[in-house]
């Protein structure tokens, strides 16, 4: 309940924040704090410095870039779930944000923070994977773009370097016939709490068959991860229930499924398949 001491800075510009990170390799970035502060309160994490980016202007917007939308570093889950732009072009992410934590957590927690925290059972990272998002990371040396597929590296570990700040999650706009969906079983049942298993899917339907698909699963392995086997099986299929269910059987192909308090390997494998089918069907239904 009582964090250890740390130094605190709340810079007003991104440059100052990045300089602070450069100067303090032990520093942690604080945005909404919904993941960082509980860990600090339990002293599971005790950074020497906290760089609060909450006072930096220009990071709190969801912007339309023409061919993509950008979610800034300070955009909360509440804002993501309520955003018409996100609902239109990244329904899986809007849904995932609406099922993240509870109302109070959604009011403070940020989409970018959820990505960086990279919890094995979080909702939004798989939506980013399925949507083919790009992570924009800033450092004092400039910015770099990291494909979502390369961003989630290991258990609670992202590709972000200690001196970088994730300033933006960029989602390509959904073209005609493309839609996405997310479905999961939460730890307390239904959709609430972290995912026991969850699947996000984005599909494109053209000329009566599926021309593109990206599917990702959460809660089952050591990180949010793409389920390439499902996507491969979907592409070229007619999107019938039978085809979807056959494809969903590949939900954990190549994934090292891990047991936890909420599910055995067999159960999680099964759930990944169930929710792969449900998410893909929902996406197909939305794609029209």
């Amino acid at each position: 309940m009582y964090p250890r001491q740390f130094d605190y800075v709340a810079p007003s510009s991104l440059e100052e924040a990045l300089a602070a990170l450069d100067a303090n390799p032990g520093a942690k970035v604080l945005a909404g704090g919904m993941s960082l502060l509980p860990m600090m309160k339990m002293r599971l994490l005790s950074p020497e410095m906290v760089v609060d980016i909450g006072r930096i202007g220009g990071l709190g917007d969801i912007t339309d870039n023409g061919d993509s939308i950008s979610i800034g570093a300070l955009v909360t889950h509440t804002e993501v779930s309520a955003s018409g732009l996100v609902q239109e072009h990244g329904a899986a992410l809007a849904t995932a944000a609406s099922w993240t934590g509870d109302r109070q957590v959604r009011n403070r927690g940020t989409c970018c923070g959820s990505m960086v925290h990279a919890d094995v059972a979080a909702d939004q990272p798989v939506a980013a994977l399925a949507l083919g998002a790009t992570m924009v990371a800033a450092s004092s040396g400039g910015t770099r773009e990291i494909a979502a597929a390369d961003f989630f590296v290991d258990t609670m570990m992202s590709a972000l370097e200690p001196n970088e700040i994730l300033t933006e999650v960029r989602i390509p706009k959904a073209g005609p016939g493309t839609a996405s969906a997310y479905d999961k079983l939460g730890r307390r049942g239904g959709h609430t709490d972290y995912a026991v298993a969850g699947v996000a899917a984005s599909v494109t339907r053209s000329n009566g068959s599926i021309s593109a698909a990206t599917v990702a699963v959460t809660g089952v392995g050591n990180r949010p991860v793409l389920a390439a086997g499902v996507a491969d099986a979907l592409v070229g299929s007619d999107g019938s229930d039978a085809a979807v269910e056959a494809a969903a059987a590949h939900a954990t192909d190549g994934i090292d499924v891990l047991e936890d308090l909420y599910g055995s390997v067999g159960y999680k494998t099964h759930l990944a398949q169930v929710f792969a089918a449900r998410a893909v069907k929902a996406a197909l239904s939305a794609a029209g």
Binding site: M1, Y2, P3, R4, Q5, F6, D7, Y8, A10, L30, G33, M34, L37, P38, M40, K41, M42, V50, D52, G54, T78, G101, D102, R103, Q104, V105, N107, R108, T192
Partner: protein, 165 residues
């Protein structure tokens, strides 16, 4: 560090360590002990306060993060001795027993009704899922929020269940 913010309409300031949680600043420095601490994992919601119009967890914020913010705690809800309709609802519909979750629950309900003045039972239940209560089974909390919603819409609240019995 110096921190200043508006708490229940009054400008306040204090000298805190960076690690001081907002809830400790409110309780210890400001003496506003109505805001409670019930867990350390950001799950129970007993510490919920309204910050810039939104329900937030004061135990999962540093006091310094609230610099310049507008905070309302349960102590700041009643105006001129008039209970807020949500407070009235909790009293009228037995929405509390031990009362420990109540301040956070009430703040949560106030913001819920500010966002949606006519929520369904399901919307109420989802709206307060970040506030744990161990006494009431939530049954009468839902009735209390329904009561308050009706009052805030200028409608007559449904009679209490025990009035029907």
């Amino acid at each position: 560090m110096q921190v200043s913010m508006s708490v229940n309409g009054r400008q306040v300031s204090g000298d805190v360590e960076p690690r001081t949680l907002l809830v400790h600043f409110l309780r210890e420095d400001r003496g506003l002990t109505g805001t409670h601490v019930g867990c350390e994992s950001s799950y129970c919601g007993a510490c919920t306060v309204k910050m810039d119009g939104k329900a937030v967890l004061s135990c999962t914020m540093l006091a310094v993060q609230a610099e310049g913010a507008d905070i309302t705690t349960v102590e700041g809800l009643a105006e001129n001795g008039e209970l807020h309709p949500v407070q009235e609802g909790f009293w009228e519909r037995h929405g509390l027993q031990c009362g420990f979750c109540t301040p956070g629950m009430i703040i949560s309900a106030v913001t819920l009704l500010e966002e949606n003045d006519n929520p369904s039972e399901e919307e109420i239940r989802r709206g307060i899922e970040g506030n744990l209560c161990r006494c009431t089974g939530y049954h009468n909390i839902v009735r209390a929020i329904e009561y308050a919603g009706a009052k805030m819409r200028g409608e007559e609240p449904a009679p209490a269940e025990w009035e029907n019995a």
